[in-house]
Every structure is written in C-alpha cells, then in structure tokens.
Amino acid sequence: MNLIHNIPFFSIFLAMFAGIVTILIKDGDKARRLHLSITVVIGIMSFILLMYTYTKEQRFTFMMGHFPSPWGNELKAGPLEAMLALLFSVVMFLSIIGGKHLIKKEILPEKQGFYFIMMNLIFGAMLAIIYTNDLFTAYVFIEINTICSCALIMAKDSGSSIIATIHYLIMSLLGSGFILFSIAMLYSITGQLLMTQLKGSIMVLLSSGEYNFPLTIIIALFTIGIAIKSGLFPFHTMLPGAYDSATTASSAILSGLVLKSYIILLIKMYYCVFTINMIRQMRITNLLFFLGLCGMVIGSLLALKERRIKRELAYSSVAQIGYIYMGIGIGSDLGIEAAVLNIIAHALAKALLFTVVGRMKDVSLSQDFNHCLKCAAHKDPIAGIGFLVGSFSIIGIPLFAGFASKLYLAIASFISPAKMASAFIIIAASMILNAMYFIPPTIDIWSPVHESDGNYGPRAKVSKSFALSTTAFIAINLLVGLNYKYIVHIVDIGIQLMH
C-alpha cells in the first residue's frame, strides 16, 4: 500500500465531500473558510504527488473499487496531472481570497453558501477530469463542470448575468452533446470506455481498416465539442458576456481554469486514446492550427474594439485559447508542451488580471467603462502593479510567465515551413495587438481623473486579503517566468509518459 498513490482519489473525494457538507453550513464566511482549507490541503497533496511522480518519472493507475481496469473505473496520475492539480488549487485559492470582498458584496448572504458548494464541486469535477482514465467518468464530471460554471456566472443574480448564463448554458450544452455523441459512437465500435483499452481497440481497428469513417467523425465530434466548451474562436461568443457579468472570483476561475480543464481532457484523449500520429494523419491538427491562428488575431482585434475592461479581458482569453490550440495544432510533442505551458501561464496571468480589475472597479466610484477606471491604480497601487504584471505576461514580455509559452510555441512551429511562417507572423502580430489593447487601460488607470489639476484623490483602504493574493500571484508569475525550464522539464516528462 502506497499512500501517495491515493492522492488523486483523496483530492477528488475531499473536494466533493466539502461541496456536500457546505449545504449544512449557514454562514457564508465559514463556507469560504472550509473551501479555502480544502484547496490548501489538496494543493499540498498535489505538490507531494508532483514531487513523487517527477522524481520517479512514473505514471501510475489507481483502481477505483475492487475490479481491475476494463471492468471498473480507474484514475491515472503522472507529473503533468499532478502539476495541473497543483496549479488549479493555487489559482483557486488565490482567486477566492482576492475576490473575497466582492463575493461578500455582490452575492446575497443567504446564497453565499450555495456559491461555495458550487466552487467545491467545480474544483472536484476539474480534478476528476484531470485524473480520470475513464471516458464516461470524464463525461459525468464535464456535466458537473457545466452546471457549476453556469451557477457561478448567475450567482450575482442581476439581469445581465442571467442572460449571460443562458447564453453560456446553451453553448456548453451544445458542446456536451457533441462529446456525448462521440463517446456513445466510440463505445459502439470498440466496446470499451477505459482509455488504455480504447487505445488498444482503436489500434486494432486502424490496422484492419474497419469503421474508418465513423472513427474520423468521432474524433471530429469530440474535438468540436471540446472546442465549443473551451471557447475556441468561432465558438467564443458566450465568453465576454459571461465574464463581464459574473463576480470577479467566478470570472477568474472560469477563464483561468474551467476552460483549461476541457483542453487537458482533449490532450489526454489525443495521447491516451487516439494517438497524436493518427490525429496528424487525419489533418485535424491543421484545422486546429488554423482556428487557433484566427482566434489569436480576431480575439485581439475584438479586444481592441471593446470598451468594457472585463469584456476586453474575455476577448484576450479568446486570443490566448487560440495560442493553446495553435500549439496543439502543430501536432508534435513540443507543440503540445508549449500548449500546456501556455495553459499554465494564462491561468496565472488571467486570474491575476480578473482579480485586479475586480478590485479596481471596487475602489473607483463609477465602474465598468475604461475611462471610469481612471486613477484606480493610484487608489490601490498593488492593483495597478498587478495589472501591469498580468498584462506583461499576456503580451509575452521576458521575465514573465507568458514569455516562455510564446517562445516555445515559436520553437515548436519549426516542424514544418508553412506552419513556421504562419505561426511566426501571427504570433508577432498577436503580441503587438495584445500590447495595443493593454496600453489604453494601463494609461487610464495610472493617470489622474482630470488631466489639468493632476489630483489623484485619496488612497483606498488597504485590503489585506487582496494584497496577499495579488502579491502571491505576481510572485508566482515571476517565478514561473524565471524558472520556466523546470516547468518545461516536468511537462516534457509528463507528455512522454502519456504515450
């Protein structure tokens, strides 16, 4: 018996358990504290798991129940999964303490308990999606993820948030439907649901040439389903409204983590079920590459046009999702590694940006429009610095986390001349566009309300939890930006072990 092997199972069950227990807690503060302590515990456990799997270079399976793999459920964990679990717990923890005041202010006291139930359940569901080795389990937890994300958006209970929720729900359900279709068809041609066995059956089918057409459609449906759920370019319309109208912590978690959990599942499917060579032969990678490039440019252009800061950040997420899909679309191990690196960098930077923007909206008197955030950085300098760091990371300036991912994307695109040329041009264009849409709000938040008098107004009251969260976010962004080689190494081992 090895206790470390139990960590994935403990993490999922702990989060789900916390979600169930929270319904009995009346007080919102207690519910929040329970959630925060659970994230800390899961974070520590994931760190131990990461160290263990990284030093041993091992990816192990954990049997969920008394029946071995084609009959019972199974979890599988390696360095990549452990690192993502660690990332998720860190971002979750910091986003919640950073957005604590706004959660208290914007959500009715009697409904804060419900909000944290959803937070716990979505955390558990994301962990389950990362760790599971079973396709149907993944689908069940995708369902929980979908419902909880809608709940997180509508928690604010304003008209706009309800409309945004309906939009988000419709798009998400469309994606879920595609995924369910593809899982059902895959089951009918292979008779398996566990990823390991599925891979074997698909290899047999490929060599015999049987069910070739359905197999292509299955992969396409699965990819489209995940693309819709993670907001890839033509399917991104649900994001801006949702992130704009949700409370800060929800926006941070939805854009930083929830979208990513689906992409991780896609990567796992490409490695553990379909194999990346097959995806490349079917030219699905080319499609993803093209859509990724479109997303990078169009997301940035839309962000440039936007006047509301949170919508601008949402469009910036669309562009970043484009980067990730471009990495997957390169279709080599290096490309996927770069994509994972971008997932990490974007989760850290975007969660920071949303937290900071929420705080700035809170301290400035009239909110929402860029020009109304004027002088917000002087009212809370930590928020201003946080905004700078986050935007630098998104733009891809060296020393910050986003730089490494863009560098690796560029390196990975060496695989083919056509991809290299287009990737280089579009990355350069997108980075310039990123800088262009981040400059106006940055100038606005640092400049005085009236140009002539140079009056910055009084400082806002320091919020300890916000300061702690932002400082930690900034530190982690810098740390990842400076030590990206270690992270690349972990991701590399994780991807190699998935083959």
């Binding site: 018996m1 199972f9 069950f13 709940a151």
Partner: protein, 305 residues
C-alpha cells in the same frame, strides 16, 4: 395658414428692419438642406434595415445548410456503425461477458444493472448523484425567494392558491390523491428496496417517490407538505445520503485501490439483505432522487420548499 403666417411674420420683420433678407434666405435654404438630409437619412435607414434583413436571411440559410450537412454526416456515420443486437458486435466483448457471467458472484446482486452501476462502475454513479445535487442547488440558487426575487403580485397569487386548496377546492384531485399516494410511496419503496433483486433501483424508485410528493403537494398545498418536508429536512436528508454514499464508496475505493480486504459481507444472492453496499447505496440514491425531483418542482412553482 400657419406656415403662411410664419412667412408673413418674417416679411414684416424684414420691413421693420429687425432681420436682414440674407438671414431669411439662409434659413430657407437651411430648411431645404435639412429636409434633404432627413430624406437621405431615411433612405440610409431603409437600406440598413434591408441589409439587416438580408443578413438575417443569409444567416438563416447558412444555419440550414450547416444543419443539413450535419444531419447527412451523422446519418452516414450511423449507417456505418455496427447493427444493433448482432452477436459479433464489438460491444459484446470480455467486458460485458464478465458483467453477465460473474456479476452475481462478484457483486451479490441479481439485478446486473444495479451491480454494474453501484459496484463495478460506482464512481460514475457517485458523479451522477452529484450531478443531481448540483442541479437542485443550482435551481435553489436561482429561484429560492430572496430580496431580489420577491414580487408582491406573485405573493398574492401564491396566497390565493393556498386558500383555494385549504377550502374545498379541487375535491376530485384531493380524493384521488388520498387513494393513490400511499400506493405510490409503497411502490417506490418496493422498487428501491428490491433494486438488487429485480428491475428497478434507486433512480427509478426515487423518481416514483418524488412524483408522489409532487402529487401530494399539488393536491394539499405546500403548507401541508411542510408539516413533514421543509427546506431544512431537504438539506439534511440529501446531505446525509450523499455523505453516506461518499464515505461508504470512499471506503470501498480505498480498500480496492490499495488491494485490502473488503470486510462488507456479500450475503446470499437473492436475499433482501445481500449484495454488500448495493442496498444501502440504492436507498441513498433513491432518497436523493426523490428530494431532487420534489425540490426542483417546488422551487419552480413556489420558489421555496
């Protein structure tokens, strides 16, 4: 006449030397220009409307094309999938073979479906119960009465409803409900308790009990239902059932994953007290499903349980 009067007025003003002829001409030309501009504006508006209309039209056409292509692709795929019910289908492999041949022996449950969902693949079912829980909490979050969604008219209507129910309204419904409800509950409990022996189980039995609760609430009003089922009971009961599920399955996963011995006895297949954890889990799932169904119903109709 008024316009005329206006003109004459200007004329008199000019004669009196209050304005110059230039300004009158200027004003006239300005009016003309304004009229022209208005016309142009209207034209532009009209064209924009037409364009919007045609854009919508194009969108509709694209939607139809996409849908038709999609339907075609899916039909083609479905036609290439293995025919349903053939013995040499890929689905009939070692997985279903073991479920069918060793299911009774390994899970202790005669109903193989129960054995499959609550023992072989219990983790999925745990997820499904959590989906139900999430759904009902989501509905509560959205519809539970609070200061944002209280409406005096709705309050009045609800009060009137209750009054009608307490008076001798809906007599037939009440009479039939009184006859039927005990049997519905009994049948639901039977389906749940025999989930491991005969077709049925937690999900179906819970749905039956939930339907019974809804019928009771419709016939006798919410006030009467609250005598035995309030929001507090709902919370406590569903949380307890989920926690029992969480812990008992957690124990079984823990022992299974670490290759420890499971001390829960399987019993003799066919007895009511058999099949290890399946019976208690069926009861838990049944209660969760019943609570969820009734919860969603009453949040949608009354905004509270």
């Amino acid at each position: 006449m008024k316009e005329n009067g206006g003109k004459w007025e200007k004329f008199f003003k000019w004669i009196n030397g209050e304005t110059t002829i230039d300004s009158v001409i200027l004003e006239n030309s300005r009016k003309k220009r304004f009229a022209k501009r208005k016309l142009r504006h209207q034209k532009a508006k009209f064209i924009a409307l037409r364009l919007k209309h045609s854009k919508r039209r194009i969108q509709e056409i694209i939607c139809i094309i996409v849908a038709v292509v999609f339907i075609g692709i899916l039909l083609k795929t479905a036609s290439e999938l293995p025919t349903c019910g053939k013995p040499d289908n890929p689905v009939n492999n070692e997985v279903s073979e073991r479920y069918l041949e060793k299911g009774v022996e390994e899970t202790g449950s005669i109903n193989l479906v129960s054995g499959m969902i609550l023992d072989y693949r219990a983790f999925d079912t745990f997820g499904e119960s959590c989906v139900l829980f999430t759904a009902v909490i989501c509905v509560a979050m959205l519809l539970k009465r609070d200061k944002n969604n209280i409406d005096p008219i709705e309050d009045q209507e609800l009060k009137e409803d209750e009054e009608i129910k307490n008076a001798d309204g809906s007599l037939i419904l009440k009479f039939v409900a009184r006859l039927v409800i005990p049997f519905i509950f009994l049948y639901g409990i039977y389906v749940i308790l025999n989930g491991h022996l005969s077709p049925g189980g937690g999900f179906s039995g819970g749905a039956i009990i939930g339907a019974g609760l809804m019928l009771y609430s419709t016939a006798y009003g919410q006030e009467n239902t609250r005598r035995f089922f309030t929001y507090e009971t709902f919370k406590k009961v569903s949380a307890t059932c989920l926690l029992i599920y969480c812990f008992s399955k957690g124990y079984s996963f823990f022992t299974g994953g670490n290759h420890l011995k499971n001390i829960i006895p399987k019993g003799i297949p066919g007895n009511i007290l058999s099949s290890g954890l399946i019976l208690p889990l069926n009861i838990c799932v049944g209660i969760i499903v019943a609570c969820t169904m009734y919860g969603i119903y009453s949040f949608f109709t009354k905004g509270d349980i």
